[in-house]
Structure formats: C-alpha cells, structure tokens
C-alpha cells in the first residue's frame, strides 16, 4: 500500500480504501489476488507499474532491446574468442598457451562481475576518455538511430568488454575439454590415416563435433547472463532490464518486478527449448535416442 502512494501518508482513509479496491488489495492474497493476476497474464496484461504509472508490458518492451543489444554483443564476442582460444589451447595441449588459458579462466571465474566493471569503468574513463555510463550522450537522446551509431558504439565498449571477459573463460574451458575429447575419437584417427593435414582435421572433423557442448552452455548461460546484466547495467547506468529490475526492487514496484521476473523465466525456458531443438539438428545421434 505504501508503495502505491509513495511517501505521502496524508491521504484520507476513503482514498486509501478506493486505491486498495482499484488494485484488488482488499481481497485475500490466495486465491483471489493470485487468480486475478493469472487471468490478467493469460490475456497478455501484465498490469500497471506503480512507480512509473505505465503498463508493465510497454515498459519491459522499451528496455528489452537495450539489454538484448548488450548481452547479445557480449555473448557473441565471448563465444567467438572463447571458441578460437579454446580450440588453440586444446590443440596445443600442455603449452604456455594452454596453461595461460587455464589460469585466465580461473581468475575470470573468481572475479565479481561488478568489480571488473568498476575497474574497466575507472581505467577506460580516466585513460581513454570513454563515457562513464548511459547508452547515449545527453545531446544525442531522441535523435534517429543511424545518426548516433558512433556515440552508441563508444558507450557500449566498456560494458561489452566486461561481459566478454567474464564469459570468455568459461567458453574457452568448455571448448578446450570438448576438443581434447573429440581429438581422441576414432574418426579423427581415420582422418589422419586418410592423410588430411592438421588444419583440415581440426576444421572439418573436430570443430563441428566439439561445438555441441557449447550450444548447451550458451542456452543454460542465459539465466546467468541476466544476472551479469543486472550488475553491469547498475555499474554503467545502462538503461536496460537489469537496471529496471533493480529500480523496481528498491521502489517496491511489485507489478513491474513480477513482469520482469516472468520475462526472465520465460526467456530462459525458451532458450533451453531452442537449444534442445538446435541440438537435434546439429547432432543426428540425439534423435535416435
């Protein structure tokens, strides 16, 4: 109740009562309020945000793309470099590159996301003059997208770099152990016996099979990437879902919080489903079982 009316406590009892009725807060939480919410959700209505006074679905949609841009860019870079470095590390086992990759991954795993963000923010803004936060410079807000692309890119460098560094290590490790396992398979021996050179073996035979675990991890990671987005968007005051979630929490804006949570849960489930489907396409052996 306090959350709806803010800190203004000088509100008459009648108004309080009508507000309660308007939001259905006078009914018992279970089953009435619960069923009411379920009914609304089923019809695509996520309710109205208490603090922003706009439909929750509309707010979520407006922030969704910013987060997808950030996470997508970071993930693509992390996957690309992770796969390449993991491939090299697994291929050149027990070399300095391999050890270095392992140590890097361990340290990246042990580093808190937000702290890495803080360090990159401090270093980037002091020495490279990069912006300290936001998505666009204030004078560029509201201009057509194609005119402000350079500004957008400059703002994206640090948050994307943070995400990339953090997920790079994990993809690298998975790729490495996966390629090591694949290289011990019989068909690799066959390929060698056929006289293919190392590059052909690696590219045509090993890489495709070794990529399979990465697909699963990418899908499973989505839920954790969202956690990363909350930290990174907070550090870089990036206007996306993560920051929205944090704001909704501090303002006790429950409809907004519920909507954001629903969106996260649904996207994780959808991602897992897509990974399963993709898996059957990539690996015909899965279909057989």
């Amino acid at each position: 109740m306090r959350a709806v009316i803010g800190r203004n406590v000088k509100i008459s009892a009648e108004v309080q009562q009508s507000l309660r009725e308007q939001f259905g807060l006078d009914k018992p939480v279970f089953p009435d309020q619960f069923l009411m919410t379920m009914k609304q959700w089923a019809s695509g209505n996520l309710g109205v945000s208490w603090s922003l006074r706009r439909p929750v679905a509309e707010i979520l949609l407006s922030k969704l793309w910013n987060t997808i841009l950030l996470i997508g860019l970071g993930q693509i870079l992390a996957i690309f470099f992770g796969v390449v470095l993991g491939l090299l590390a697994g291929w050149k086992r027990k070399t300095a590159l391999d050890t270095g990759a392992l140590i890097f991954s361990l340290i990246a795993w042990a580093t808190p996301t937000f702290w890495l963000g803080i360090i990159l923010l401090a270093a980037g803004s002091t020495w490279l003059g990069l912006p300290t936060g936001g998505i666009l410079s204030p004078q560029n807000v509201g201009k057509p997208l194609h005119t402000v692309l350079p500004d957008l890119a400059v703002h994206l460098i640090l948050p994307t770099l943070t995400l990339t560094i953090l997920y790079l290590g994990e993809y690298m490790l998975i790729m490495r152990s996966s390629i090591v396992e694949t290289l011990s398979e019989d068909y690799i021996l066959t390929a060698k016996a056929k006289g293919l050179n190392q590059w052909q073996i690696l590219w045509r035979h090993a890489l495709k099979n070794a990529m399979l675990p990465i697909v699963t991890i990418i899908a499973l990671n989505l839920g954790f990437t969202v956690s990363g987005a909350i930290y990174i968007e907070t550090v870089f005051s990036y206007d996306g879902l993560g920051k929205l979630f944090q704001t909704a929490l501090t303002k006790q804006d429950y409809p907004l919080l519920q909507g954001a949570f629903l969106l996260l849960a649904v996207s994780v489930i959808v991602a897992n489903m897509l990974a399963d489907i993709l898996y059957t396409i990539l690996d015909p052996r899965v279909k057989a079982t």
Binding site: V180, S184, T234
Partner: protein
C-alpha cells in the same frame, strides 16, 4: 567405528598426495591467509572501521591516498580503508562460510535420503533441482531478500543473506551426493550389513556417510567460492548490512560515493582483490580436492582434464 577409522586413514593418504599438488597448495594458502586476517583483525590495525581519522587540525581526512599512515588511505568519511578491509573479512567470510555450510547440510541430507531410499523422494528432489537450475538465481535472490526484509521480522540483514544463499545453492551438492549414494548402496558391504540385520539409520551412519564424506567436503569448498561471490554481489546491490560492512558493502559505498570520479583507487581496488583472493583460493582448493576424491572423475581417460569440465558446470 571401523569405517570412520578408515576415513581417517584415507584423509592421511589424501594429505600425502595433496602435498605434491602446487595448485591445491596455493589455494589452501590463499584461503588460510584470509582466515588468519579475519581472526587477527584487531591486532592488524590500530583503528576501528568506523573511526574517523583526523589530521593535526582535527579535520577528518577524506579520500586521503595511501601512505605510511593510514596504510591504505581513507574513504569519503575519513575512515581507514585497511581497517574496513580486515574487519570486512570477518563479515564476508562469516556469511560465505555459514551459507556454504547450510548448503552442504541441506544438500547432503536430501542427497543421501534421495539416493538411499529412492522412490517419490528421489523424484521430488530431481524436480526441485531442475526448477532451481532454470530460474535465474540473482533476480530470485534479490526478490527473496527484499521480500523477507519487507516482512520486518526480527532477523538481521546478514542472517537473511546467509539463509537465502544457503537455501538456494544446495542443489548441486544434493545431486552429486545422490549419484554417489546410488552406487555405494549397491556394494557388497552394504548388502552384508543388511543381511546381519542392520537398520537404515545404522547403514547410513556407519557405511554410507564415511564414503560420501570426502566428496561432500570437496564440493563444499567449491560452494564456498560461489557463496562469497554471491554475497559480495548482493551487498554491492545494497542488500548488505551497512553497519557491518563486508567487502561487497565496501564496494557499494565506494561506487555510490564517487570513489571512481575522485580517483580513489585505494577504496575500490582492495575489497575486490580480497574477494578474488578468497574465491580463487576456494576454487583451486575445491577443484584439486574434487579431482582427487570424486570417483567419477578419477581414472577417466581424460584424467587431468576432468576438473576443467567441472568448473564449467559450476558456473
């Protein structure tokens, strides 16, 4: 008691092979040194973390850079950063360790019961862990902590953190222990014990528990690193106890009070390094222990690579 003596003997052998592992020794060193700092905090600094350090004119030293005195400089309120760091170790480690131990107890308890008795209990466990695996953990914890705070129960904020982290991170332990118990309960000595009339409680206590114990220990060390990282994250987002600042809370203060724009690197670098120090120590130690103790990993044709796969899963 014979099984427990066997456990003791095994631990002795474990230490022998552990001594030769450089990664493991480094991990142990990192964890023990952090513990020592937390225990010895009052002897490591003349200041109290909330004490304002003043210059000769009696003015508070705000954002003073590191020097001989104070060694790590001061924060925006003139408090000694080094004092906050060593006392913060107590909070961070207490929350991390207690949460880790709760996860260990709950996970082992359900893992042993589900593995030993099977049936609907086992089904329930697997479904619950499935659900917890899919839900994004940080948003869930944020909502839980905030909701519990809302209820204004008489629980300290740190207790809320410990309970929420502990009660969400037990699933990996439970699954690991369960799979281990599934194989142990089929072994000969369990069948013999049952044949001479041993009850379930006796078999679990005397035969199952000593066998899974080493694995539980290794897994707990890995969980500790997650718990410490998560605590720092939640504290950074403002869910810590401002009167009992952990390393995460320090970073929250540093960020909110413009340490970055003031160039006060001594305020935001040390707490983060401390978190990396401890969680890296736990990961190294836990990976080495698990490699040595997890029967599913040792003897595999990928021996030596196996812990790397595990690390990926732990994320």
């Amino acid at each position: 008691m014979e099984a427990w003596q066997r456990l003791k003997r095994n631990l002795g052998e474990l230490w022998k092979s552990f001594r030769g592992n450089r990664m493991g020794l480094i991990g142990l060193g990192l964890v023990l040194s952090a513990l020592a700092v937390a225990i010895l905090a009052p002897w490591l600094t003349p200041y109290h973390p909330q004490q304002v350090i003043r210059d000769e004119n009696g003015r508070g030293l705000t954002f003073a850079p590191p020097s001989v005195h104070p060694p790590l400089g001061t924060d925006d309120g003139g408090h000694d950063v080094w004092a906050q760091l060593v006392y913060g170790a107590r909070i961070s480690l207490t929350v991390g360790f207690l949460a880790g131990f709760i996860a260990m107890f709950v996970g082992s308890f359900f893992g042993i019961l589900a593995g030993y008795f099977g049936g609907w209990l086992d089904n329930l466990l697997m479904r619950v862990t499935d659900v917890l695996l899919v839900i994004p953990d940080l948003p869930l914890m944020l909502v839980l902590v905030a909701t519990i705070r809302q209820m204004q129960l008489k629980i300290s904020p740190l207790t809320v953190l410990i309970l929420v982290i502990g009660l969400l991170y037990w699933t990996s332990t439970a699954r690991l222990v369960r799979s281990q118990v599934l194989s142990i309960k089929e072994r000969q000595f369990v069948a013999r014990a049952r044949a001479i009339g041993a009850g379930h409680a006796h078999i679990i206590r005397k035969h199952i528990l000593p066998q899974v114990m080493p694995l539980i220990v290794a897994n707990t060390v890995l969980i500790l690193s997650t718990a410490i990282l998560i605590e720092s994250g939640l504290a950074f987002l403002g869910l810590g106890d401002p009167t009992k600042p952990s390393w995460g809370t320090m970073l929250n203060f540093a960020f909110d009070r413009n340490a970055i724009s003031n160039g006060a690197w001594w305020f935001y670098l040390p707490p983060g390094l401390a978190i990396v120090w401890v969680s890296l120590g736990c990961v190294l130690l836990g990976n080495v222990l698990e490699e040595m103790l997890n029967p599913r990993l040792s003897g595999h044709h990928l021996e030596g690579e196996a812990h790397i796969v595990k690390l990926g899963e732990a994320e």
